[in-house]
Symmetry: C2
Subunit: 361 residues, 2 copies
């Protein structure tokens, strides 16, 4: 059946649009399975009463053991990393009023609205080759109250170097600027180790969605070294959503207890896909940054809005417009697909680009 | 072990303070069990992927069938009624800016902060005998953008009359004021039928927490007849928390399919407890409104802050200070306890009041 052609102006247009032979490079959702243990014997858990606003004590203790010098009382379990970000920015507004927040552009598309909904003002530093450009960062960080970084990055797929992260740590500590480090892809790095930024001004955000393929269960967390931030977030959450769903927390705790080889195996699969899509896009003639983490690529292409529309309506392929991420003239592809699907999708894109090769220049 | 005596200034002080022989009339949490069917075979559900922001289609269709002339697309499933309220007020702020919201006093303690966090300004109408006083309501409703009502009421335990609800419906429709009707206790009414306020300006909020004793799973919903409100809430939720946890939604759907006798049996238990605690408190000499719904009583007592502290530290009984609900000179008791515990708790309260009878006058 012919799809009725309408203007596509945000990722929301594609929600629920899978099946029917569509290859979706759209949503950043693992297609892999979570550890099977998380589902065992749930009927015996009897987890249906209100829990602590901060989250289950056992889960917070397990998390504290994963980080150096961390205390369980500094963690708050949230409805995914999304709620963690929302609450942190609302807490900063409650503590400091209408302040500026530095975002890296290109950005994950939720960042600017989350900052604005909290009553804060986003300002932007331009990434260079998909990573922080320290000279621009140093200029833009002056006068802001918080910086949001995201390494590995959605949508650039890049991972910050250790030197950059140390420099961000140093500058922000000196200026008294919070660093909110969204590390939801930290277990999906192919090129180097993750560096954990240190200091009382640092708020680490993570989730179980990507590492354990359990997006829909919505369990994330934040770890703030400053007890004032912890308290401000709890003060909000007790009214705005109360405890994070308690069964999801139990499943997250179980996921943490599976052997680490589970994560290693998944990362190996992601790396194979990364290699495949990177080579495939290069072969087609795309210009793009090599992904170092997460599962996104952000290749250049002219007329990106038309490309998104044409690929969807004429070729059954979903890609996202880079403009939605502050990266006009690019498209974002998630490679959370098995290699055979990636191959089919790339074939369709190649077919579409016949006669349009100049759009890649 | 002697508890260290500290100032108790909010319900948060009591979180996690059960066990050890404490009788808690504090948190409004059913002690009853949810329908056992909700836990069956969860390991086969495979519900771990992102879901629709609005919530599962089957669950929304089941809800739409429960209300006259309702459409599934006008429902949004949320992380409990708390998130539904938070998102509705944030949506009103996004659409109308810094507007006034009319709250009924005494109020559920989360209402003023939720309204304020959203950037809105709470104003108050004083309840009379625990119910809306239409003459005061008519004065205070002028100039507000929204009214929040809660029948049955936490903390008064009162249920609005049909005449009052029809008059609220008429006045707000005429003035173009939203009515947000928090009906989380609507299945716990002992005295009369619930009346569903009608009109495009009405937003109904409910949850599965109280009816099905599944508080910790955090599944609630809102039903807005105005598609602009629905869209504004979705626009927020896609960034602030994404879909509500998908396993909780599945369990809510299962709860809805159990025979209605489940709810009737629970209501019978609540009514027995209501009768028991009401008579018990009257016998002690308390002056209080007879609860008509929900599971709260709000008796009068002088020195309520000291009473809360003394009962906790010296008599192992938790009650909440009415002042936390905008009702100074009263205490709130939840009777979500079995009759034997209520009896023990009332015995301790009676013991404490020996020689303090004048505080009840």
């Amino acid at each position: 059946m012919q799809k009725k052609r309408v203007k596509i102006s945000s990722p929301a247009a594609f929600i629920g649009m899978d099946g029917n032979g569509i290859i979706s490079f759209g949503s950043g959702q693992p297609d892999l399975m979570p550890p099977k243990q998380i589902f065992n014997d749930l009927e015996h858990t009897r987890l249906f009463k209100y829990g602590l606003i901060k989250g289950d004590e056992n889960l917070r203790e397990a998390l504290a053991k994963e980080y150096p010098n961390a205390k369980s009382e500094d963690f708050i379990i949230t409805n995914g990393a999304s709620e963690a970000l929302d609450l942190v920015f609302r807490a900063i507004y409650a503590m400091h009023g209408r302040a500026k927040v530095l975002l890296c552009q290109p950005y994950y598309y939720s960042y600017p609205p989350i900052v604005e909904y909290a009553g804060l003002v986003p300002v932007y530093t331009q990434l260079k080759e998909g990573r922080i450009d320290l000279s621009d960062f140093k200029k833009k960080v002056r006068g802001v109250k918080a910086v949001l970084i995201n390494s590995p990055s959605n949508p650039t797929g890049r991972v910050e170097t250790l030197d950059t992260l140390r420099e961000v740590e140093r500058i922000t500590a000196k200026l008294g600027v919070y660093v909110i480090s969204d590390e939801v892809y930290k277990d999906l790095i192919y090129e180097r180790e993750n560096y954990l930024i240190k200091g009382k001004h640092v708020i680490t955000i993570n989730s179980f969605s990507k590492t354990y393929s359990m997006c829909g269960l919505r369990v994330g967390y934040l770890w703030a070294r400053d007890p004032k931030i912890v308290q401000a977030v709890v003060d909000l959450k007790v009214h705005t959503s109360m405890n994070t769903n308690i069964l999801g927390q139990e499943m997250a705790l179980r996921a943490m207890s599976v052997p680490r080889s589970f994560v290693a195996k998944q990362t190996a699969i992601w790396k194979e896909r990364r290699d495949f899509i990177y080579k495939g896009l290069c072969d087609i003639g795309f210009s793009l940054w090599k992904p170092e983490g997460a599962f996104y690529v952000l290749p250049k292409i002219r007329n990106s809005a038309q490309v998104v529309s044409d690929l969807f309506y004429d070729h059954n392929v979903i890609v996202y417009d880079g403009a939605w991420f502050g990266a006009p003239g690019r498209i974002r592809l998630s490679y959370a697909l098995d290699v055979s699907q990636i191959k089919t999708g790339l074939g369709r894109i190649k077919e579409y680009l016949k006669g349009r090769e100049s759009w890649l220049k």
